[in-house]
């Protein structure tokens, strides 16, 4: 059993014809940090639940570490660590009791389970709260405890479903630091889902953007920006009203145009060539931007573009 993930043509249709996942395929190599990036309802959690043996797929094949999830779910469970979107914690037990119990279920002896609990409580910085019932923990503490539970058996593959959603910056940083360490130092394969571009950009080697149950773009962060083949021309005006007029005038210039307050961004095949034309058009309307930039697209730009295009197709 290695640390790879292989998903082929995964489909999940819930009762009532809810098509949560509509044919998703991807591969994650051992030791790779892979992110699923997509808005609410895209099908991220459904995918995680299927990959981790909790939910049965409608069709498709999944191999986790070379083991078929449908055929040998128990073997898969020994080797994966899963932190679901909703933390799963019994409020009556203390943090230490929960970790010890989790360790026992993964075959640790009583003594080894105690040792592991102490290690992990230190790792996620919960030593002070270790003897308190988890029901009294804050949201950030719960997340950290949930992560500790996920790591008890040193899994080869980690599944993290929106691990930082709703966390304050310091808790988010703590979680980022720990999962980066696991990936870099221990070689753990990581499958992370997120709604935050920044998170995917910061952490992942490779990203798939998922929207409405389909993967709409995949690649390394750099590749995604490059395959988009667009530059982004960013114009900042003095007044939102100017920006609005400019966006009307320039509507047909690029492939795609976005406006927010006094900013206009135009996506185009070749930004530098278009520049003189663009300045002339603005001049005719007596519009002069405060700043003008041509830059390769950010992950944000990629995301907006692929999801917009998908909308147009529908």
């Amino acid at each position: 059993m290695d640390g790879s993930i292989l998903v082929h043509d995964l489909v999940k249709t819930y009762k009532g014809d809810v098509k949560a996942v509509r044919g998703v395929s991807f591969e994650v190599a051992e030791g790779e940090f892979f992110a699923f990036l997509g808005p609410n309802g895209a099908g991220k959690s459904t995918t995680v639940q299927i990959l981790t043996t909790l939910v049965k797929p409608t069709s498709g094949t999944i191999q986790i570490g070379g083991v078929n999830v449908n055929e040998q779910p128990e073997r898969v469970r020994w080797n994966i660590g899963v932190a679901l979107q909703e933390t799963g914690i019994d409020p009556v037990l203390t943090g230490r009791e929960l970790i010890e119990m989790q360790a026992r279920l993964f075959g640790f002896t009583k003594k080894k389970a105690k040792e592991r609990a102490s290690e992990l409580l230190t790792l996620v910085d919960l030593n002070d709260a270790a003897e308190r019932p988890c029901g009294k923990y804050s949201g950030g503490m719960r997340r950290r405890l949930d992560l500790a539970l996920t790591l008890v058996h040193k899994p080869k593959i980690l599944f993290l479903d929106e691990p930082t959603t709703g966390l304050d910056p310091s808790n988010r940083k703590a979680i980022w630091k720990e999962i980066k360490r696991l990936n870099k130092e221990e070689g753990t394969t990581i499958f992370l889902t997120t709604q935050y571009l920044e998170e995917a950009d910061q952490l992942a080697d490779r990203i798939s953007i998922i929207n409405e149950g389909r993967i709409v773009a995949s690649g390394s962060v750099e590749e995604l920006k490059r395959t988009l083949g667009f530059d982004a021309i960013q114009l900042v005006f003095h007044e939102p009203e100017e920006a609005e007029r400019a966006s009307v005038v320039l509507n047909d210039v690029g492939e795609n145009i976005e406006r927010s307050r006094e900013e206009v961004t135009i996506y185009t095949e070749n930004g530098t060539q278009l520049l003189s034309e663009l300045v002339r058009m603005l001049d005719e309307q007596q519009l002069s931007p405060k700043t003008l930039n041509v830059k390769p697209p950010s992950l944000d730009d990629v995301f907006i573009n692929v999801t917009n295009k998908q909308k147009e197709r529908v």
């Binding site: 909790l54 939910v55 128990e74 914690i89 019994d90 009556v92 037990l93 009791e97 119990m101």
Partner: protein, 263 residues
Amino acid sequence: MDEQKKGSFLVDTMVFTKRSIITIIRNPLIFIPNLIISLFFLFVYEGGLSGISQLPAFEGANYLAFILPVSIVSAAIGGAGGAGQALVKDLENGYFSRLLLTPSSRLAIVLGPIIAGMLQLLIQTILILVIAYFLGLEVAAGFGGVVVVLLLTLGWGLAFAGYSVGVALRTKNAQSAQAGTFVFFPLIFLSTTFVPYELIEAGWLKIAATINPTTYLFEAMRSVFIDGWEPWPLVRGFLVIALLCAITITFSAVSASKAVSSD
């Protein structure tokens, strides 16, 4: 290289049982009200109704011995229902999914709360019997009779735990599971609860008492308290319980396998 790890069903079951026991002990509100209600039955009915045992249909039986099974059985139903309630809580706060993600035995996940519930029930029943002893209970069948009563109670508790776990796993929500425990009332009261069968007036209640499995449990317990060793009430009592257990445990096993492999 490819380490084929194996879990241990016994360890898993022990771990889950221990955890359920801790949960029960830390939440005394789970069992104390139930115990109080059962003792309330014992004191109020014994205090208020004991005079009717002068009627010839009681054949000189002590009313305390007659009403005691009602108290024991009602405590058992409440105690066994706790197993289902505990699972519903796990389902609601997401801990159940966390447990399903471990390689532990699926059966052990469900068995833990049931065993803890049985232990709770055993202690409750002994407590009620001790109190009854101080109220003047005499057991015609002696110490062996007490053991028979405990076994009958455990069997009954197991049957009811199977039912409550099944309902919990099916509905996955506390209100519905709570509503499911209302079978308590027909089971306890549509029976030979207060008077022997011959004294029941209404024809419909006679029919209900005949169908109600609790009747056979009451009769089996009363036989050891009042008459000593009588084979037929015991055979009927244990048969009814075996049948009930078979039904409700199958129900809970089917519900469990549905709940753990959700689609």
